[in-house]
């Protein structure tokens, strides 16, 4: 069985398992939707009070918001195995069993669970995104649609990479590092606003180190036909989402280093 169909089978098994408790799934999903919707209320309140931010109006920011929320939702739905890696695999010694199976550890951890309850964030992100697209003064071209799809995969890859790195660090610390939540959840918050609102040092971090701006801000500027207030070249958004994938590849490389230095906690 090849990797893709094996992953598909794991995912189907996981979904089937979660559907055994539809009430729980629904209530956690609604809770997730509510909790993530507070960010939207805060966003709306700011625009109601201030009108615009550096030439960007509310409907344009909603596009950023829906896009980044959706990408983070997909990433967190698929990386549950990495999220609980420190507590459920390392500390309990379950990672030894993963290593014994004749399949890559990355594939097995991705296949650990496809968490449907996180779909609440996806639903509200998709609604916001759909509304923002409908509010655009023109319809999307084929190139726009392709660019959005490409950038979305880059954004999912970037968030996935961050979650893999968070898991990788627990090879050294055994505990999961909550501090990295600042980059995942904080990154979602940061990427809702145009890059130009941040100070130069932070802008560089958000493009080169954790390339959030490369997968959201630059491609979305093209879709919005909004000139870059920072004066970046017009073609940048077409290629910059690749940085999200590069980040993911680097994260998987780091994961390999962690696996090689792993020694079981015993018992």
């Amino acid at each position: 069985m090849n990797a893709a169909s094996l992953y598909l089978r794991c995912a189907m098994a996981s979904i089937h398992g979660q559907l055994q408790y539809p009430g729980t799934l629904l209530s956690i999903g609604i809770g997730n939707l509510m909790a993530t919707a507070t960010a939207f209320v805060g966003l709306w309140a700011r625009f109601d009070r201030f009108g615009e931010i550096q030439g960007f109006v509310f409907s344009e920011i909603v596009l950023f918001y829906g896009f980044v929320q959706g990408a983070f939702a997909v990433a967190s739905m698929t990386t549950r195995g990495f999220e609980v890696f420190g507590t459920e695999f390392l500390r309990r010694g379950d990672f030894d069993r993963v290593l014994l199976r004749p399949r890559s550890t990355v594939l097995q951890l991705f296949g650990h669970e496809l968490r449907l309850s996180k779909a609440g964030r996806l639903v509200q992100g998709a609604c916001a995104f759909g509304a923002a697209i409908a509010l655009l003064p023109r319809s999307l071209t084929i190139v726009d649609t392709a660019l959005l799809a490409f950038a979305f995969t880059g954004a999912v890859a970037l968030f996935g990479g961050l979650l893999v790195i968070q898991a990788t660090l627990s090879f050294w610390t055994i505990e999961s590092l909550e501090a990295l939540n600042a980059l995942t959840y904080g990154g979602v918050e940061a990427a809702q606003y145009p890059l130009s609102v941040y100070q130069a040092a932070l802008r560089r971090i958000l493009f080169y180190a954790v390339p959030l701006a490369a997968v959201t801000y630059h491609p979305l500027l093209i879709v919005l036909r909004h000139p870059d207030p920072l004066g970046g070249p017009a073609w940048l958004g077409y290629v910059s989402p690749l940085l999200g994938w590069a980040f993911f590849v680097a994260a998987i490389g780091l994961w390999g280093v962690g696996v090689r230095r792993y020694t079981s906690t015993g018992s």
């Binding site: 700011r46 009108g51 501090a179 904080g186 918050e189 130009s196």
Partner: protein
């Protein structure tokens, strides 16, 4: 007598929590990052408002909003996010029986412990935040991003009292969740709902005065404002004289309502309490 009975567990837990220096430091770093993001975003909004509509009509100046944001980040741990983990664990593993066997009022006993938990986590984080945002940023030449001093000594003293009342309200909310845990077995559902409303209505997501004007009366009256928004508006000098006393009276009102609810719920839950196993 009562002070000794409920003061001792309070002190013991407070002292223990103040030992967790790494956790406090990690929390502080995360809050600096969030605070930094929020401050930069607000500054950009104020800049845009200045260019289009002017900032004279805004309910807070940029400097006041920045101070509000840093205070909210520094005091994040004093707000109620769910049940007290020690107490919810005791409910789950059955050691709640020990609490019931003690010759003390269970509500007051839990109240003392939860208050120590909230305060013990908040104090070191707040101290670090005051150092960073109040002193560090100014020393680094970033005075315009820094936390400002309170509007005078009287405002500072009143804000401290009001913050104490905020802690009292926060503890009362935590205790309601603690009791909910007896009924439902987990504080997860209650925490999700509570966290959602709390983050928005306490002033943590954005300063409450920046919400639309038509929502102002509601926002000032609702109980979550008593946690952070009331002490902050006193600190900033937005509330003066009689308004300070009225705001504090409202805090006391919500505190008594929440304590009453907590006590009623506890009495009913305990009457039906069943502990399995032995």
């Amino acid at each position: 007598m009562a002070l000794a009975v409920y003061g001792a567990p309070f002190q013991a837990r407070l002292g223990r929590l103040l030992q967790y220096r790494e956790a406090a430091f990690a929390g502080f770093i995360t809050q600096c990052w969030w605070g930094g993001l929020k401050v930069m975003i607000l500054a950009a909004f104020y800049g845009s408002a200045l260019a289009t509509q002017g900032t004279a009509s805004l309910p807070l100046t940029l400097a006041q909003s920045i101070t509000y944001v840093w205070l909210a980040q520094g005091l994040l741990a004093i707000t109620p996010w769910g049940g007290d983990p020690d107490i919810t664990a005791a409910v789950r593993d059955g050691s709640i029986l020990h609490d019931r066997l003690r010759p003390v009022d269970t509500y007051a006993y839990w109240y003392a412990r939860s208050a120590a938990w909230l305060l013990g986590r908040a104090l070191p984080r707040l101290a670090l935040m005051l150092l960073f945002a109040g002193v560090g940023l100014r020393a680094a030449g970033l005075g315009s991003w820094a936390l400002r001093a309170p509007e005078g000594a009287a405002a500072f003293a009143a804000a401290l009292v009001s913050l104490g009342l905020g802690l009292a309200v926060s503890t009362a909310i935590t205790n309601v969740v603690n009791v909910f845990t007896i009924v439902t077995g987990t504080d997860r559902g209650a925490s999700t709902v509570l966290g959602t409303f709390m983050i928005l209505l306490s002033g943590n997501e954005i300063p409450l005065p920046l919400f639309p004007d038509w929502a102002r009366t509601f926002l000032e009256l609702q109980p979550f404002a008593a946690l952070l928004d009331t002490p902050f508006r006193i600190y900033l000098g937005q509330l003066r004289g009689g308004a300070v006393l009225r705001a504090m009276a409202l805090q006391v009102f919500w505190w008594s309502v929440l304590v009453l609810i907590g006590r009623r719920l506890l009495a009913r839950a305990v009457a039906r309490l069943e502990v399995n196993g032995g």
